[in-house]
Every structure is written in structure tokens, then in C-alpha cells.
């Protein structure tokens, strides 16, 4: 079965939805946008030989934090996915991981809003 980053994200979101309910509920349009981002992540994961994909929800800021761990990143103009994913993030961070890997961290806005 082919890896789909949105499957991972969906599981994390289900858990977060339960924790944030009944005060907050996810906005379907925002989830759709995140699904599109995950499609770009899938392409990036295939192209860049990514070792791990991790999703966390920041419970205080309610942001969606996505980390990728890989050896190197190489992008040309015909591979716009990384740039597009950076552009849509609130913040982007690169750190060295275990001496010989890179950790790319993307923070995306909250998917939830207060229930009416």
C-alpha cells in the first residue's frame, strides 16, 4: 500500500478533534487545504527520499506541526513542492538531526474554530 501522509494526518486530527470538542470544531475548508498540502508532501516524500514524517498538534496554539527527516534536500525549478509547502506555512525551520540528517519543520495554521 502506498504511503499517504494524509492518512497519518487524519489519525492525528481525529484524536485532536476529540480533545478540542465541544469548545472547538474543525473547519472543513481548512481540512481540505491541509489535504492538498499532504498531496504535495507525498510528492516530496517520493522525490527526496524522506526517512520520517511526523505530525503533531500544538495544543496551546492549535497549529499543525509537520516534521520531515531526510539526509539531503535537492530541488530544481521543476520540483516546486517544497517551495509551495514553505510558502503556505506560518513558519519553517531547518535543524541538523543526529549529525547526518536534516529535520524540516513546518507550522500550519489552526484547523479549528470556536463552536457557535
Amino acid at each position: 500500500m502506498k504511503f499517504s501522509s494524509f492518512h497519518v494526518v487524519e489519525m492525528v486530527l481525529e484524536d485532536a478533534n476529540e480533545r478540542f470538542a465541544p469548545l472547538f470544531e474543525p473547519v472543513p475548508e481548512r481540512v481540505d487545504f491541509l489535504k492538498q498540502y499532504c498531496e504535495a508532501f507525498d510528492v516530496l516524500i517520493d522525490e527526496q527520499d524522506v526517512d520520517s514524517f511526523n505530525v503533531e498538534i500544538d495544543e496551546i496554539n492549535m497549529t499543525v506541526n509537520i516534521d520531515l527527516v531526510m539526509m539531503t534536500v535537492e530541488c530544481s525549478r521543476t520540483q516546486p513542492q517544497l517551495g509551495q509547502l514553505i510558502q503556505r506555512a506560518m513558519s519553517f525551520r531547518v535543524q541538523a538531526e543526529d549529525g547526518d540528517h536534516l529535520k524540516l519543520s513546518f507550522v500550519y495554521p489552526s484547523l479549528w474554530e470556536k463552536t457557535a
Binding site: 534536500v73 535537492e74 525549478r77 509551495q84 513558519s91 549529525g99
Partner: protein
Amino acid sequence: MSDKAYGRGFEDDERAEKELSDLMKKIAEAIMKDESGLSIEDPKRLAEFKTCYQILRTILRGRNIKMNAVPHDDFPSVGTISFEAKDFSVTDTDLFARACALASNYEMYPKLDGTIVFNLTFYGMTRKVDN
């Protein structure tokens, strides 16, 4: 019976090394031929190079980041912007991504000392003048 014949044996290291060396020489000759002759700076590409450098310098200012922008020593048509840092983060992600998109390609890799290298390469910095 198999149709396959004994056409090719295993290559020894010495022969493989020679073949690789010959190939590298051919590639170098092709590049040198392409780079030779009269060429002038491409103003549009040069402007993109400078813009990218200015944006990155502005975004990353005030942090412990080593940054430089140089034309390639051997190939004048290639320019490189590179920076090194322990780690870096950007909040102006739109501008950062647009700056990176100006480059022909970019790469990131970790060094053994724990720093990260980010290289942006610009091809087509010069344009050939036809005689």
C-alpha cells in the same frame, strides 16, 4: 537452452576507474567548450541573483549565519548563494520561498560539525555573444 552469450565479463577496478576518468574528462571538455568564447552578463538573471541575495540577507539578518554570494570560479555562467548555520527558521515564508524559486536549483545538507549548508545555484548568469 539460453540465448544469452558470454559477451561481457566483470570489469576490474582499474578499468572502471579509467573509464570514469575518461568520462569526467569528456564532460569537463564539453563544459569548457560551452563556457569558452565571448559572453556577457545576462542582466535579468543577474538581477534575480541579486534580488535573491538581498531577500535572504534581509530575512536572515541578525542571526548567527554565514552567508556569501559568488560567481563560480571556473564557470562564469554559474552563480551560487550559500549560507551556513547551526539551524535557521523563517516566519516570512512567502518571501523566502519566492527567493528560493529564483534559483535554478537549491540543496541543503548537514555537515559533520552539526551545521547546515544551504546552496542556491543560478545557471545562465552570462549569455553568449554570437560572432
